[in-house]
Symmetry: C2
Subunit: 361 residues, 2 copies
């Protein structure tokens, strides 16, 4: 485990900013596997024929095909995809950038992507962007280095950054966070309307002091949801109070819990809280309980996403359901479309959301 790490290896090179560990003098791994040439010899045909059989081309006589297949079976030959990939100039890998696989919302989207990718013969290269703090070099470089054929980005921070640069020429798709103006294909929901729906539900229940626990307003989705929240209040004749709003830079349970506790310390504390993610909302419920508030009797809570856990907590969470699986599947399909036809302009897609009323509000 003591590989020497070279100093240079600048630009053009490997993961993030680290230098690529050198193979250390070893005389290139002595090709362990069989090559197509050996199989061809065994079968008494040319490499071209073997390749044709393996790739299911037409124009191979059944007898020949059988000979080849027999040789393949006998030798246990497996295609070397490294070589195939170089020749066909595709990696058959789809890069998926997630801020946090641990967040069940993203996990479910990832499954959607994975399933569509597999159906089309692609595998998924997963990058947990949050895990790597020193992410100077853009992950999109992986595309340029042919590490992946295309990318799906779920991380709002990375998406923002990419939209800022001129990355729109690269084959990628934005998911959940997007800007319709930028010409980058996207999937998402109507965040403005969704947030409005959540707030209107609380208003209908008689709440007038409604808090918002949001993520960083640098993100478009956060601004859209905030605007939906503000407009819904204003339309109901309520002047939003800035002290009801909080912005967090994390979506995990703990963040929600402590934010709720803080919010409740105010003199005119809200009687309802809208959190922009279920993980936050679940933390909020926990935080409220820890300061002696009951949900929904003292404070109502509405979440966002409808992760599978939302129905299991106590009280079951009222939330805005996002079609996570479909978001992932659609993102993958858009990307594949774009790969198949780089010129066609791929549309943006908005999927429907849905208010799921449970007991927390």
């Amino acid at each position: 485990m003591s590989k020497s790490v070279s100093k240079a290896a600048r630009a053009a090179s490997s993961p993030s900013s680290k230098a690529r560990p050198q193979p250390e003098a070893q005389p290139l791994r002595p090709a362990e596997g069989l090559s197509i040439a050996q199989v061809a010899e065994q079968a008494g045909v040319s490499v071209a024929t073997v390749s044709r059989v393996l790739n299911g081309h037409e124009n191979v006589r059944p007898a020949t095909r059988d000979k080849v297949l027999a040789a393949v079976d006998a030798s246990g030959y497996r295609v070397n995809e490294l070589a195939r990939n170089l020749r066909t100039a595709e990696s058959r890998l789809l890069l998926t950038m997630v801020p946090d696989v641990g967040n069940p919302f993203y996990a479910e989207i990832v499954r959607g992507i994975d399933s569509v990718a597999r159906q089309h013969g692609y595998f998924m290269l997963l990058c947990d962007t949050g895990a790597d703090p020193g992410r100077e070099r853009s992950y999109f470089d992986l595309l340029r280095r042919r590490r992946a054929d295309g990318a799906i980005c779920l991380d709002p921070a990375t998406i923002q950054q990419a939209l800022g640069e001129a990355s729109s020429a690269l084959p990628w798709v934005a998911c959940c966070e997007f800007d319709p103006e930028m010409g980058v294909p996207y999937v998402g929901i109507d965040n403005y309307r969704a947030a409005g729906d959540a707030v209107r539900h609380l208003l209908a229940r008689g709440h007038r002091r409604i808090g918002l626990i949001n993520s960083d307003v640098d993100y478009l989705y956060a601004r859209q949801r905030q605007q939906g929240y503000l407009d819904a209040l204003t339309e109901a004749g309520i002047t939003p109070d800035e002290r009801w709003r909080m912005n967090l830079n994390s979506l995990d349970y703990e963040a929600g819990a402590s934010a709720a506790a803080v919010l409740m310390q105010q003199p005119h504390a809200p009687s309802a809280i809208f959190a922009v993610s279920d993980t936050l909302a679940i933390g909020v419920i926990h935080g409220l309980r820890s300061v002696g508030k009951r949900v929904p009797d003292d404070v109502a809570v509405v979440g966002f996403d409808d992760i599978s856990l939302a129905a299991q907590v106590d009280p079951p969470l009222t939330t805005i359901a996002q079609p996570m699986r479909e978001l992932g599947e659609t993102a993958a399909r858009l990307l594949l479309q774009r790969l198949a036809n780089p010129l066609a302009n791929v549309p943006g897609v908005l999927l429907p959301h849905r208010l799921v009323i449970r007991r927390s509000a």
Copy 2:
């Protein structure tokens, strides 16, 4: 989106059992990127020199290095890793097989793997084994096809199958589910002791009717935990009742909820339940509540794993903590060790567990 899928493409070929979509007559994508040769020309040196600069080899005069770097910067050249990988015979990809990324337990392990892999210049190829029902062909074939350099398997079902076959020659590591006899490196915890600890905690609280909600006993870890449970009861002078035990083939919340409901319908229902995963346990709490039982007053619950959510539910979950992050990190390190030195025999590693007492028991 209408790629024709070839019929043949047997053996030796692409993902799972599907045939690889044909490139469809297109005359091989016209090399979009710059090649090292072009950069070499621009810099007025040979390709070898460019390569040496890019890989940080010694013996390059600073002036030359600068020329090359300038040419690289000017041209925006990026290494084609497809070509590099073929030449160096490594994909720099680590395959990670998970039964379900949606399960927070696995998600956290995945992060551990990812972080170590990245530190060593590897990326992670994620396969959600559960997502693909028709997984006839072994995922380990991805190793033989050079799609990945090594694999970490978290899926007990896949591990069992792999241990059955003679896959021990392939560079892979088992995580969480393992058999010390098989010569395959592994990381995990002492399941027998851990389960015993959980049960003994419940015994100490005065419980005598203790239920077990377990996964399929085909899995070693499930058998080990069951044995730990049984022995702990026996040692306390209690004859285990078979009706207190349930085996599920899913670990998700719903499975736990309905199992709990079933368990409570019996005449001599348990006064405590030990579930072998926190997701199950959280479902159990929910299920108990739905049949009118309070936790921990009517029924105590102990979980397993200590996912971050465990502290956030109501009541906070007493559980056996597994060092998830470390499990993942260790698995990755063992694998890298094995890759660096294929001959050395890599040891099995048992990491410590810990009983975390909260309010559910």
